[in-house]
Symmetry: C2
Subunit: 435 residues, 2 copies
């Protein structure tokens, strides 16, 4: 196949155009390396606002950033749509859907995907939300179930279609629960005047004893308060045993009839084949050292959600959040250039600036080290931080206007069913037209 | 099933939420009728800008308007997502995917779909562009073929992937050709610096001897001039014989190797089963009288592209354009109310305010009766008229900003491949990941 490289600089192949891959590629601009960036999509997915797309509050193109557009003018970078099938670490190449690609340095930045913890039945029936197509499917499923409920005569028949159970009360689940609650409280009456708000129920469930367990006590308590004010029923310390598409069962016997189980209870790394099993840590993450190098190799690196760097400060590895991936990407750019020039490398140290989650239109919780706050001001900070994240991309102005519009309008988003969602055992009463 | 009606007013059932159906439903607001609006999608498709979505210059949600949002607050209207399977004109009901629905007055406003003139092979291999999913598939196919060409070594191998043949030089084809030419001239160099502009070819083909044959000589000539200035090769008086996914063949022997044939050479009405065959006219359109009533029936009407009202002034029926559908919708609202009150009805007369088509960023052709003009001013008029069309919808401000942004920016649109496009015999070299 056509050579992907046009000069004699060292070849850096980056797998994955998430926050980590994009930051790294950007920081290698105009340096004496040749960069090949690979992703299975031709766009970067801005994950923090995915839950808004899934609930129809924001359109998909507001969180999908064209990779080619983003790197326009960066002469030492090429982009290819490809899926990596296998890494051959001892041959310095990778096998992909577009052929075999050689590398001098390989960076695995493939991110994470939903973890169903081995439960095949739940995987078959529950809905994940880690990619734009998944978010759009989820949006279609939600809207189709609301439409389907209109065709049923009794509250008992409607109940499973109007009941939403979110498993996993981390930031993703909490944000999704808040957004669904907003649909229930603000939008249902406008779009579906024939339905009664009281019939729609939103549950947020977690195995752990509190919501947002990775944040402070204060944030945790306040988030639960906000959710309950919005009529979300929060069930903590509850373990999901099974879900067959009709009824979700919890340990201890409780059951809820629902057609809508959304799973955000865990993630696992996306690891291509070819690395030794000893380097794959818990959660399917790749073990790396303090310069993000895959243990046992000289020229293979891993950053972001897929990587796991364990030390005393972070015995479970770093959290799978955007700032970690971005800082690692920036740092690795420096280290790759050191290695290319045979200079000493610098250890990576994560600068933890805190964490946050948004619960509703004006409600968020923020932990900034010792400073913790919640409510409207926290929400402003949350918005501000995400706008800064947005600065790294080219079409920020348009996206900012879209975000602003959707936030200001109580009725943001079109809630379109562009492609009906079909899931074999999660049939809606009215399947809609085949396209 | 649940009764869809909540009072004793006459029941008007409207099939189709296109320009005609929406105008009619809007003009029956707060009148003494009960309106049930049915569509297979939960959004209205703003057709005039479909070609921009297909070429990735505008996002889908900018031309899809949520029906529920649009009719929020209209108390005498209900909306249901449904496909009509059959009309039972002698029983005053329709069979749909959500059950049997009774009516007092039925209005068929189902619009038109692509006409392949019975050629099954062309239908299988060519790409249509009459709905948003079709436009998005087309967008994916175009982008995937550009990506695929990057993996091929010689110009001969790349040629079919970079050659685009548009069949049908009416407004749709001409606008699409102009947009593809803009990608070639302005965007290819930015997104795909490894491709040579000269390798991408755009052809516009028509059986008739001129482009925009339904417009004036002046408009026709100028449109062809604009297209040729943009390096579109215009082939008129040419009949397509076959297309097998690899080579398109014309009567007389000429062939072009291409993986991209886009078909906008004809439309036909979308007619549900159940009407007598004698009422179906040429092009699968329903024959109506001067009050848009289906001939032979008292309480069934047809408006817009699916209808055909023939008289001396319009021996072939009215053109299938938005202003016709909108005027008919408005007029039919008046006539239905007359009928309900046993008053005399008014004949429909189309007020032809002219026609237009846009060819490029600043180039359009406009015929306003005796006044004909082309170029930049024509394009401003084209924009203005479409903005007026937009006024009938609720989310006009956001959409206007999106349109403005895309027009001002030479690089509007994200050109995302959200879902890879698969067509059995139109395989791309790099099929991309399955989702």
């Amino acid at each position: 196949m056509e050579s992907n490289y046009n000069n004699s600089f060292p070849k850096v192949v980056i797998i994955g155009a998430g926050f980590g891959g994009i930051e790294l590629a950007t920081d290698l601009k105009n340096k004496e390396v040749d960069v090949l960036l690979i992703d299975k999509h031709n766009y970067h997915t801005f994950q923090p606002l995915m839950y808004q797309v899934a609930t129809g509050r924001l359109e998909a193109d507001s969180i999908a950033f064209s990779i080619r557009k983003n790197f326009e003018g960066q002469k030492n970078l090429r982009f290819r749509i490809a899926e990596v099938q296998k890494i051959n670490p001892y041959k310095n190449n990778i096998e992909t859907s577009i052929g075999v690609i050689d590398y001098d340095y390989l960076v695995i930045a493939t991110g994470s995907t939903t973890n169903f913890f081995g439960n095949k039945e739940i995987e078959q029936h529950a809905l994940p939300m880690k990619s734009i197509p998944e978010a759009l499917n989820l949006r279609s499923a939600i809207l189709q179930n609301l439409e389907a409920s209109l065709l049923l005569k009794t509250p008992e028949e409607r109940e499973p279609y109007l009941t939403f159970v979110l498993v996993g009360a981390g930031p993703t689940g909490a944000e999704l629960a808040g957004s669904l609650a907003e649909i229930r409280n603000n939008i249902l009456g406008k779009d579906y005047p024939e339905l009664h708000k009281e019939e729609m129920k939103v549950y947020l469930v977690d195995f752990l004893p509190k919501v947002l367990a990775n944040m402070s006590e204060q944030a945790s308590k306040k988030a639960q308060e906000f959710l309950e004010e919005m009529n979300v029923e929060v069930l903590t310390g509850v373990k999901v045993e099974a879900y067959d598409g009709e009824v979700i069962s919890f340990e201890g016997g409780r059951k809820i009839k629902t057609k809508n189980v959304i799973w955000s209870a865990g993630v696992q790394g996306v690891v291509p084949d070819g690395l030794p099993k000893e380097q794959i840590a818990k959660g399917n993450r790749i073990s790396t050292d303090e310069i993000n190098r895959v243990i046992g190799f000289n020229n293979i690196f891993a950053i972001g959600d897929v990587s796991s760097f364990v030390n005393d400060k972070y015995p479970k590895g770093l959290p799978g959040v955007a700032p970690v991936a971005i800082q690692q990407g920036k740092h690795l750019a420096k280290n790759i250039l050191h290695l290319v020039k045979s200079e000493p490398t610098e250890k990576f140290e994560y600068n933890d600036q805190g964490s946050m989650a948004t619960i509703g239109r004006n409600k968020a919780v923020v932990d900034l080290g010792k400073i913790k706050f919640q409510g409207f001001f926290a929400w402003l900070v949350w918005m501000f931080i995400h706008l800064i994240l947005l600065m790294g991309f080219r079409n920020k102005v348009v996206v900012f206007i879209n975000w602003l519009g959707s936030y200001i309008s109580r009725n943001g988003g079109q809630r379109l069913i562009i492609r009906p969602f079909y899931k074999e055992d999660l049939k809606v009463a009215n399947p809609g037209p085949k396209l």
